[in-house]
Amino acid sequence: MPKVNTSGDELDVNLTDDEIERIKDELNRDPSITEWGMFDVMLSEHCSYKSSRPKLKLFEDAEKNYDYVLAGPGQDAGVIDIGDNYALAFRIESHNHPSAIEPYHGAATGIGGIIRDILCMGVRPIALLDPLRFGTLTDNPHSQWLFKYVVKGIADYGNCTGIPTIGGEVEFDKSFESNCLVNVACIGLGTIEDFKHAPSRAYNPRDYIILMGGSTGRDGIHGVTFASRTLTDMSEADRPAVQIGDPFTKKMIIEATLEAIKTGHVRGLKDLGGGGLSCALSELTGDGGTGASVDMGKIFIREPGMNSFEVMLSESQERMAFIVKPEGLEDVLNVFRKFEMAHAVIGRTDDTQVLKVYDGDNLVVNLPATALSDAPTIPRKEKRPDFLDDLLAQKTPEPSKKLDEIIYDLIASENICSKEWVYRQYDHEVGVRSVLKCGDGDSGILRIIGTNKFISSSVGTNSKHCFLDPYNGSKGGMIEICGNVIANGARPKAMVNCCNFGNPEAPESFWYFAESVKGMADFCREMKIPIVGGNVSFYNEDEVTKTAIKPTPVIMIVGIIEGEENIITLPFKDVGSDVLLIGETKPELGGSEYHSVIYDMEGGTPPNVNEKEIKLIWDFIFELYENNLVKSNHDVNKGGIIITIAEMCFKNKIGVKLDLNTFKEGGLKDDELIFSESVGRFVMETSKSDYDKIMDLGGKYKISVKKIGTTIMEPEIQINGLKTSNFTLNLKQMKHLYDSTIPNLMDK
């Protein structure tokens, strides 16, 4: 790590020699130690996206291309106009590294951070979602510990702040064993005016800058190692590496912020997250075209003797910065007083385009406001890994067990079984908006009180598919997550993503990232889904083996449903209905749960994506919806069609008699037919009497629509028409296996 020196202080910085030279050139002097610290943080991958930015350019400019997009990438959160004067904000973020060391506080502060991002857009946070990834649980106390405390951290923080967690996913895979992935997403709702009131910019000179919330402490400045005379006596143990979340203060910040915005005097708003005050002040002024002058002495600090370096770089939780009109200062302060929130006027904006921080009479920071917010990018090498060809060529072994035994094994497997153990710990109903609750459907559905409008949202991806083919795998992830909202009756309206990858300096890892971004960008352009935000987390790898996690581009989709009657749910409703399979099943077992659970293998041919076909399927489904032809709908993913069907049977204890004869002609083997994870498929329940109408429509769209069975009273899945032998599955036994896996691993 290079060192920089300034007047006797020495600092290890994570900057390249080029960056160091450029900074000195631009300033025409040596920065102060505090300034070095600020550059160090702001030019870090985390803040500057220096590796990822060139690739993220592939995402189109959503604000320009879609008239309902109010805020696109680059803002704290994406915001869309959903009609009736409502603005919907949403964003997803990673908190992987902190959670891997301290799962409870790591996950909790992740929730804290994502809430602040939404609050920054001036709207009320109304829902959370949590896509999570760990090593496999069985016989693995470390994975169990991480899983238990990550869930508890999310629960304690989300529940206390009164924001329901309405969905998420959990995937277990060895590659996440030492580097778990904790992604968190938040949705916010407000009026268009609420949103317009609070840009994260300081556009006007002479406004007040107020810091509100928690005090500033030494926590969270571990990213940079500081060696100076003032700090050398402080031992490592005295510096907590992970911050402690305080959901109580956060809840008060939410209420105080929203009430302050209502005064009409707030002109800008920014949360203090990574990079602390440095990041907030430079983005407010740099992007707003103003400058500012800040008095460090006004900042309320937690520990005596903190120096300017520490104050500017502290990432203490639960803080917000407000830009307030001069004439509105008292009104805003009165709001903070009512809520008894600590606050201080720490400075004022000006028109100098320079950011100045004073420590007493000393000018400790004196930088052009844009110096910190415009970071240069670094081109990275890409290389397709050599091991892929061998993996893709792997063949499925002959089934080692009978198919029914395999299905029972699958439904009990960690990735397919019920995640109720997780979402029971989350208050998923607070806010009285949750219409479709965790576990009851493919997406979470929220009502907008006072309207007949509903928000449907889902998050996730399939890292096993992405590992084999990041381009198609990422598209497949898009299809799965869009499929979840479509199954519930909503058109995908916009997307945000969270890219979790390995070391960008390793060409193989960067290739995965590049392919994945390309896949998402191509798919979204084709399907006309605006990408309104994202987050990139690199350097996710096993510290010991230096192997990267499976590539994990997590996708979040929101959709809108107009009218309660247009919400479709997953459970079978009636006996005697037709069960239809929409979309083509192909011999695509690569990266399937079947391969992984039964043969412990990762390779094979993963699903390919044909956007044209997917588009037709979606249009077909919406035409069915418009004609009220669908009773239930569920998309097919992990485990294949039988798992999908079983999940539809469980709630109302309705069985199915399957007749798979129509597949006999095709070249599919029985295991391919049952366990293939070909993307874009749905299983639907429809009325017998509508059969002809539906098949006609299917013909019109030229897509594969097959009747595969009938719902029955008996609580079982009878499977007929296979090439090998027929068999019957007992639903009660399946449900028992589905429900007990995680409790058995975690609570016994």
Binding site: D156, K251, H428
Partner: protein, 236 residues
């Protein structure tokens, strides 16, 4: 008559707006959200202490809010017979402030639990259950981490008919499987001797509209309707 209910907002109450919504838009009664330091009892016919995590539930759920000036005002209402309802965190506050007997301890599982349960009506003579029948079974959700009811005076409670709700299975049987948190005798809600103060862990405000209920029921609304009815009869 113009009935007016106060819903108290303590720092980090979080079901306050939910209760307000149900009163204003579902029960169609005038209700105000009142910041705990600003609450004046004389303006209101009844008060609701909502769910949430007042003061983060730090130290113990409800203990810090029990010391809020709002509780001095609420005590006046309690004593002159006006209805005082504590939901979830509100129940915890009511026991900590000693409006109600017993205490709410950490769930036996040590985990927060959010799910729909069945409750049996044990006492339909209170200000909040007068429109229900004894032994009715209602659908309602819970969401709490500290809901394990405990008392050292169980016999007294039984003798005085202060147990209002018990957790049961769908058929109304009081079983340990249907006890979500380890509460003594499956107790989910208790009242004071006079029946004008009720605390319960489940959330009636989440069970007042069919769209929110897995079974399409609106049983929670009956609790608010009963409260309004009680106020009307009282002033008649």
């Amino acid at each position: 008559m113009n009935i007016k209910i106060a819903v108290i907002e303590f720092p980090a109450s979080n079901c306050d707006r939910d209760a307000l919504h149900v009163l204003n838009n579902v029960v169609n009664i005038k209700a105000d959200l009142v910041w705990h330091n600003h609450f004046k009892e004389k303006d209101y016919d009844g008060v609701i202490l909502p769910g949430g995590f007042s003061f983060g539930d730090y130290l113990r759920a409800g203990i810090i809010a029990a010391h809020s000036p709002a509780m001095d005002e609420a005590r006046i209402m309690l004593e002159d017979g006006r209805p005082v309802l504590g939901i979830c965190n509100g129940f915890q506050i009511l026991t900590e402030a000693q409006f109600l007997p017993g205490a709410l301890l950490r769930n036996e599982s040590l985990k927060f639990v959010c799910k729909w349960v069945n409750l049996k009506i044990e006492n339909n003579k209170t200000a909040f259950t007068n429109k229900l029948n004894k032994a009715d079974i209602i659908d309602i959700p819970i969401a709490h981490g500290e809901g394990r009811y405990f008392t050292d005076k169980l016999k007294e409670l039984v003798d005085n008919d202060q147990i209002v709700f018990r957790y049961t299975n769908e058929k109304g049987a009081i079983t340990s499987d249907s006890n979500p948190n380890g509460s003594m005798d499956n107790i989910a809600g208790v009242c004071n001797l006079e029946g004008n103060c009720l605390g319960l862990m489940p959330h009636p405000e989440r069970a007042s509209e069919s769209i929110l209920s897995p079974n399409g029921t609106t049983h929670g609304k009956i609790i608010f309707d009963s409260m309004i009815d009680f106020i009307k009869k009282r002033s008649a």
